[in-house]
Symmetry: C2
Subunit: 230 residues, 2 copies
DNA sequence: TGGTATTATTGTATATTTTACAATATATTC
DNA sequence: GAATATATTGTAAAATATACAATAATACCA
């Protein structure tokens, strides 16, 4: 393949990941402390330039893999950002992805381009370099839209979870509150979680039942039939 | 701005537009007959390589403007495609957009890269070069999702339209059929079309009332409140 | 062991929305 | 004015969403 067959202007292309996690304190985003110019020593979205021989989606997966050690993570492309001056060093298009990870599985593996990585509550994101704040907005919005239509919330929860945790998750993402009874009726009627028969332990109050996500049941349902309007 | 500040691999970036139109025979897509290699003399999506000084969205708009002469068209980014071998001449990322145009406004302006352009019914799209068939699938899917949540269908209709035309539009895009009475109740209850008091003329049967889209009313409603589930 | 603190769990009545279904109205043409 | 063609409209039943608070299960402590 002769790259010169395309005699036009070329640009660098990068991927940037918005990595969401969730714990009892709410929805969080994983940011890295940049160890390279530009914007060295700033908190930013984890991302990297794409190399010649990587597909787009593989590149996004690799960034996440390098950073978290996690594989087979739920990822989805959000949007591509291509303003002329979005990068101070030249023309760089960036393709943004969001990823949902189980925060308990995450182990810090700062990468070549990251000195450090940390979770930031979604409501306390600092000013980010490039157009990363805009990217984050897109990601939040897309997550909101998506979770109302598809059962992707489980990607953020441990294998076993309580209905209260699930409700808090939906409430954090959708930035609203639900009636406990109505939430449970709705989510149970959708028939993609199963009572494991297990219960919480080591809690100082009535232990909650533990549920698990039932992917098989869902896979029979067309995506347009699922909605979370409460 | 010194392009050499980014010493990494660079690639060409293009935009490809999926241009939708609608008339009484249904939903259509505008394809061009390629006048340049590769795939010269094939029907394909209209697109072009991005130049140094154009923002991403401006590039997509320019492709459409060159091709149709139309300005201020509803466009939305769909997805970016970046498989290593998607272009035979080298690494080319393409950012796909869809556009909704009023087919009656369209005038043929074949471009430097197009010898000819023509509307193809959505059900009769030929084999397309590159990954253009895949792009088209994404576009159809996104249009389907979008029209259920936002009143964008009007972008495909003339200023004045009948409820029957509107119903046919929704049916074409969603690939389903609605009950006449229920469709009308639903769409009228959403309160973004207005009866103009005018009627169809030159028809050989009872003339239908003409409606128009009422953008102002809609603009007060948050996008998540609108849904077209019938 | 019984009381307290804490969170989990559950049901029902009402309002709203969706669905299913067919007769009548208005124009043109002959 | 009869025939043809499409436009327009209502109602009852079913399903879904909403509003709302009392009881249950555990740990802890006195």
């Amino acid at each position: 393949m002769d790259p010169n067959l395309i005699p036009f202007f070329k640009a660098a292309v990068s991927v940037d990941n918005v990595v969401f996690g969730f714990d009892q304190s709410g929805l969080k985003v994983l940011l890295i402390y940049r160890g390279a110019d530009p914007y060295r020593n700033c908190w930013a979205l984890p991302g990297d330039l794409i190399s010649l021989d990587s597909d787009l989606s593989s590149s996004a997966e690799k960034v996440l893999q390098d950073l978290t050690g996690l594989d087979k993570v739920y990822m989805e492309q959000i949007h591509t950002f291509g303003k002329v001056d979005r990068h101070p060093f030249g023309r760089v298009f960036t393709v943004a992805y969001f990823a949902l990870i189980k925060i308990e599985d995450y182990n810090i593996h700062p990468s070549s381009w990251a000195e450090e990585a940390a979770w930031f509550p979604i409501s306390e994101i600092p000013d980010l370099p490039f157009d990363h704040n805009e990217i984050l907005l897109f990601a939040k919005d897309q997550l909101k839209t998506k979770i109302r239509r598809q059962p992707i919330g489980f990607e953020l929860l441990p294998k076993y979870f309580t209905l209260t945790e699930l409700q808090k998750l939906y409430e954090s993402i959708l930035e609203t509150e639900f009636d406990v009874r109505n939430f449970r009726k709705k989510i149970l009627s959708m028939d993609f979680i199963t009572d494991t028969g297990l219960k919480q332990s080591c809690v100082t109050h009535r232990p909650a039942k533990l549920f698990k996500y039932n992917a098989k049941k869902y896979s029979k349902i067309s995506s347009s039939d699922f909605a979370f309007d409460l």
